[in-house]
């Protein structure tokens, strides 16, 4: 392993006693604890990290933080691989493994680099213009386009890591722990308020971490001493929580802020990889700092060209020289500090190229005293070097262009600074307004909408002293607004060279430059100009057409430069264009963190009946009905599903079947007005229903459409038990409560869900009564004592039970409800009692077949929210004379009364062995006619019926009841299937078996 050639012997916040080995593109390198992947690569002299998105040009490391557009890598291997990881924020750990992405076959020889040669042919909108037609070929094009213009690869295997969620409340949330954030936290914390301080970096201090022993001092000491003292003070405050490695990425209504805490920065852990925080803060202080802007000049994207602040950070914080010979290019004073620090660390500063004519501030004076050459009023008009910048060409600005002799400077590094954009992302997300400061060319927070304050560099504060003062004031004010009294903080004295005024230069004025504005999405000034020439004016449209700011970096380094270039070309003021919307997340968030523990078994609750274990032992195949697991069928050895369902269905009609019906929704409806209430929620009348009798009811929405159905029992004068379909139990309870509370508060009625308190077992078939009689010898079960739709209380298998004489199969049926914890014993007793009759457990599939044989509609299967009782052939259940009920008036609307509505009918295929597909569309002709074809309806239920020896189907067909006998055709992908419209009742149409 090679020596880290560009590592300084001393300085920085890395730990030289903890060397680490990592792999990049298959090659092993050394670094130190405290490095990022980027700083470690730079220490090894590796600048060429990536290929551009579109032109595949070599790209290096441009920043030292979250805004990095270029140095995106594939981090990790196998199931833990993470695409588009920023090398600049990836903390180095032993064994870290990363690779370049968007290049094939490799970084140094990349076929896609041919795009760079063809750049003139693939301008903005190239894909839209070129691959529009023929439309059917888009799928072919897309495959290759996505392959060529790609980012990293998603992992192919399930995520092996765990993620956590945490909720918290606080008085003051401080986002950012640079100078302003620390001052705010100290002021708020001193008041006793509950304070949470978050910072995206592993170490608090923000920009102060980049100080390299220059002329800046806070109080009596260097910035590092201030940070250490502040942290010590904060750690001593009981109500203050410090969250490093934690990014506030979303700011929502009512001061709800989401954070992503990274717990795996030392490599994969056995515990949680990341933690998603959801914080409700009474007050928020945003101290999110500022991000440096690149300068827009020709070929400004070569490896080795980086932001000046980043170069300074690599020198001071990581002890790494970004190059041996550096040219600094700037329009403001901050890059002078970087030049001085690099110079002190041994990097030769070939020149400081400053766009400003007048360069007379304190920082330039210090640079000149250090002997650094300053080129005033000059710009870089070109760069050279394929895999690393080799040289730059400098000319003087003159008028609207450049003039004078071009001077070539040899270098291996360019440190550029176009000024600093306040990080207003979260403030903007909080819906606060932004204001444009023309002199510095920056957007700063304006009027806040929520309880939030911005302080420091993110508020446009020009100096360190301002940052500390604003932070302290904001923290104090936030705590005061929460009711915590404290004396106003006094800011420490700051010694720092004054900053001169910056100049804005939005692009270097040369002809037809290929100057990159958005480095991640390869958008140049030419692309922006083209979009404007083609007529785009809205910045939102230009953004989408050119894809500026739409990369994973969300244009952190690009957006303001793009906006300013658009404004300049159009000849308008920047504020008149507005600014594109800032949306969460501030930096990418893993799906794993969003999902948290709500994955696999914990994705959704699974509800099991008290008899679930018995079904499992019997080998049942289950199906999901809402959250419930229901036994679908019970295959015997070697049986197919069809065979099992046939056997179960035959048994239920020839002897006796037994079904677990426990999932039915059950709602107790109590109170003196319960009968009146039922009269209003069901279409039929309920006042005459006697105690110990039950009745089927159909429930409509107020739009007259069938919503739910079920049998309701009258247990006492003022007490009913309503059953609902399995999947609708919660919805119906909500529905009832809504009407009771909002429309009919005068009704004294109380609803209680008792779904899980009772298990229900259904027996049906000609032998059902005989079987139940064995298990319940004291009960009178004869048809006279317990006729259809009657109920009895008694003892079944030694357990108190409610027996209901109902049927969903058309056979004699009994539903036996017992306390849930008694269910298994009763079920076993019934199985024993039925052994002589070969009692057969049947599942939901056979149940569906049996009810379809009888033409019983299922709400939710035959209906889709657009079916009236009339459509379902259920006019018989609608009592229009009993008074108002929900949906009544809608049944006489023109639309519900019109002809041509779909009506429930049966369908019999010409071929009895063909089972139609549920959902199949029905047309009147087997021959394709003019398009669009007129649809006659659709198949809602379709099965093979063993009892009938053929297939049957239910369908909703336009004017269906008047078309019985007509032949329709189910339109399949490759054929049509003829079927005759019939009555929907296929079996025992007179219903004689029910009353046996």
């Amino acid at each position: 392993m090679r020596r880290q050639r560009f590592r300084l012997d001393t300085g920085g916040k890395i730990d030289r006693t903890r060397p680490l080995v990592f792999t990049f593109n298959g090659r092993r390198y050394g670094g130190y604890a405290g490095d990022t992947l980027a700083s470690a690569l730079l220490a090894n002299g590796v600048h060429f990290i990536a290929r551009g998105f579109k032109y595949h040009r070599p790209r290096g490391i441009m920043t030292a933080g979250v805004e990095e557009p270029n140095a995106l890598v594939q981090h990790g291997v196998g199931a833990r691989t993470d695409p588009n990881s920023r090398a600049t924020t990836l903390a180095l750990y032993e064994g870290l493994c990363a690779a370049s992405q968007n290049c094939w076959p490799g970084l140094h020889f990349d076929i896609g680099a041919l795009n760079g040669r063809l750049a003139a042919l693939i301008p903005a909108g190239f894909y839209y213009k070129t691959f529009m037609r023929p439309a059917r070929l888009w799928r072919v094009y897309e495959h290759f386009i996505r392959k060529a213009a790609g980012l990293g690869r998603a992992p192919g295997a399930p995520d092996p890591d765990r993620y956590a969620h945490r909720h918290a409340h606080c008085d003051v949330l401080v986002v950012g722990a640079g100078p302003a954030g620390l001052a705010a936290a100290l002021a708020a914390g001193a008041s006793g308020a509950r304070v949470i301080v978050v910072d995206e970096q592993g170490e608090f201090g923000g920009a102060l971490l980049n100080d390299g022993g220059g002329p800046v001092a806070i109080g009596d000491g260097p910035p590092a001493a201030f940070v250490a003292a502040a942290l010590e003070a904060l750690r001593g405050m009981a109500e203050v929580t410090l969250l490093p490695r934690c990014t506030a990425f979303g700011y929502y209504a009512d001061n709800f802020v989401t954070l992503l805490e990274r717990l795996d920065e030392d490599g994969p852990t056995g515990g949680n990889r990341q933690r998603l925080w959801q914080i409700r803060a009474r007050q928020v202080v945003l101290a999110t700092g500022a991000l440096e802007r690149p300068l827009v000049f020709p070929d400004n994207d070569r490896p080795g060209i980086m932001l000046a602040g980043a170069a300074q950070s690599y020198v001071n914080r990581y002890g790494v020289q970004p190059g041996a010979r550096c040219v600094v290019f700037t329009n403001n004073d901050s890059a002078y500090a970087a030049a001085l620090d690099m110079n002190r660390a041994g990097t030769a500063i070939e020149a400081i190229v400053d766009t400003r004519i007048e360069v007379e501030g304190e920082w330039p004076r210090l640079a000149r005293e250090a002997g650094l050459p300053v080129f005033q009023g000059s710009v870089i008009v070109g760069t050279a070097g394929r895999r690393r910048v080799r040289a730059v060409t400098v000319q003087r600005l003159a008028g609207d262009g450049v003039a004078g002799s071009a001077r070539r400077l040899i270098c291996d590094c360019v440190a550029m600074s176009g000024g600093w954009n306040p990080s207003v992302h979260l403030f903007s997300q909080s819906r606060g307004a932004l204001e444009f400061q023309a002199e510095a060319g920056i957007f700063v927070p304006g009027q806040a909408v929520q309880a939030v304050r911005a302080a420091g560099a993110c508020n446009g504060a020009p100096s360190l002293a301002d940052c500390l003062a604003e932070g302290g004031a904001a923290g104090h004010a936030a705590a005061s607004d929460c009711g915590f009294a404290a004396t106003a903080p006094t800011s420490p004295a700051v010694r720092e060279p004054g900053h001169g005024a910056p100049a804005t230069l939005w692009r270097v004025p040369v002809d037809r430059p290929r100057a990159f504005v958005d480095f991640q999405n390869d958008v140049t000034t030419q692309d922006l100009d083209l979009a404007l020439r083609e007529g785009y004016r809205s910045v939102e449209h230009v953004k989408r057409y050119t894809t500026t700011g739409m990369g994973t970096d969300q244009g952190k380094t690009a957006n303001v430069n793009a906006l300013a270039n658009i404004a300049q070309t159009l000849g308008v003021e920047i504020p008149s264009l507005g600014v594109t919307t800032f949306r969460p997340p501030y930096t990418p968030v893993t799906f794993g963190a969003i999902a948290g523990r709500h994955v696999a078994d914990q994705y959704d609750p699974v509800r099991q009946t008290p008899l679930h274990g018995w079904h499992e032992d019997r080998g049942a195949v289950f199906e999901d009905v809402g959250q419930w697991k229901r036994a679908r069928y019970y295959p015997l050895d070697g049986e197919t599903m069809r065979q099992a369902v046939d056997r179960e269905g035959l048994a239920a009609r020839s002897s006796v079947g037994i079904l677990d019906y426990s999932t039915l929704g059950k709602i107790e409806i109590c109170g003196p007005d319960a009968a009146r209430f039922l009269n209003r929620v069901y279409t039929n009348g309920w006042t005459k229903l006697a105690v110990d009798r039950c009745r089927y009811g159909l429930m409509l929405g107020d739009d007259g459409m069938a919503m739910d159905d079920g049998v309701t029992l009258r247990l006492a004068e003022d007490r009913y038990l309503m059953t609902t379909t399995t999947g609708n139990a919660a919805r119906v309870l909500n529905w009832l409560e809504e009407w009771l509370q909002t429309e009919w508060p005068e009704l004294a009625v109380y609803c209680t869900s008792v779904t899980e308190q009772y298990a229900t077992i259904s027996l049906c078939g000609p032998k059902a009564r005989a079987v139940l009689a064995i298990a319940a010898p004291d009960l009178a079960l004869d048809a006279a004592t317990l006729p259809h739709m009657a109920l009895a209380e008694g003892v079944v298998a030694g357990v108190a039970a409610r027996i209901l004489r109902v049927s969903f199969t058309g056979e004699v049926g009994f539903e036996i409800s017992v306390a849930a914890d008694s269910a298994l014993g009763v079920w076993r007793a019934l199985m024993d009692a039925g052994a002589a009759h070969d009692i057969t457990p049947y599942g939901t599939e056979a149940m569906h077949v049996l009810r379809a044989e009888k033409g019983y509609a299922i709400v939710g299967q035959e209906t889709d929210g657009t079916m009236t009782p009339g459509d379902l052939g259920m006019d018989w259940i609608v009592n229009m004379t009993k008074g108002d009920f929900i949906g009544r008036r809608s049944l006489t609307r023109a639309d519900t009364e019109r002809s041509g509505r779909k009506q429930l009918v049966g369908l019999l295929t010409e071929d009895p062995d063909t089972v139609l597909a549920e959902g199949a569309q029905l047309v009147a002709s087997a021959e394709p006619g003019p398009l669009p074809a007129a649809m006659s309806g659709h198949v809602t239920s379709s099965y093979h019926s063993a009892n009938l020896g053929r297939s049957i189907a239910l369908a909703m067909v336009r004017n269906g009841r008047a078309r019985i006998g007509e032949t329709l055709f189910a339109a399949m992908a490759d054929r049509t299937i003829a079927a005759v419209i019939t009555e929907p009742v296929f079996f025992d149409p007179k219903g004689e078996r029910l009353h046996g």
Partner: protein, 94 residues
Amino acid sequence: MLCIPCPWCGARDVAEFHCGGEAHIARPADADRIGDEIWAEYLFMRANPKGLHHERWQHRQGCRRWFHVARDTQSDRILAVYRIGDAPPEGDPS
């Protein structure tokens, strides 16, 4: 993520609530005597204002009570909450 002050439970996260849409839609009492258009107005037509909006909400995962919320749809700020049966606060509730 709104924080909604339930009149019975106090301020709770919006995740505990269910929004029931526009409030104060009177259900016609004399439904038999009104035309389809008036009934359709009640059934289907809802305001979608930018600004003050009166809504029905239910604290579904809490006390399960329905109540009214006056909310500014532009700023997403809750201006007032009041009980079912109560009239909206007089004037500009902000």
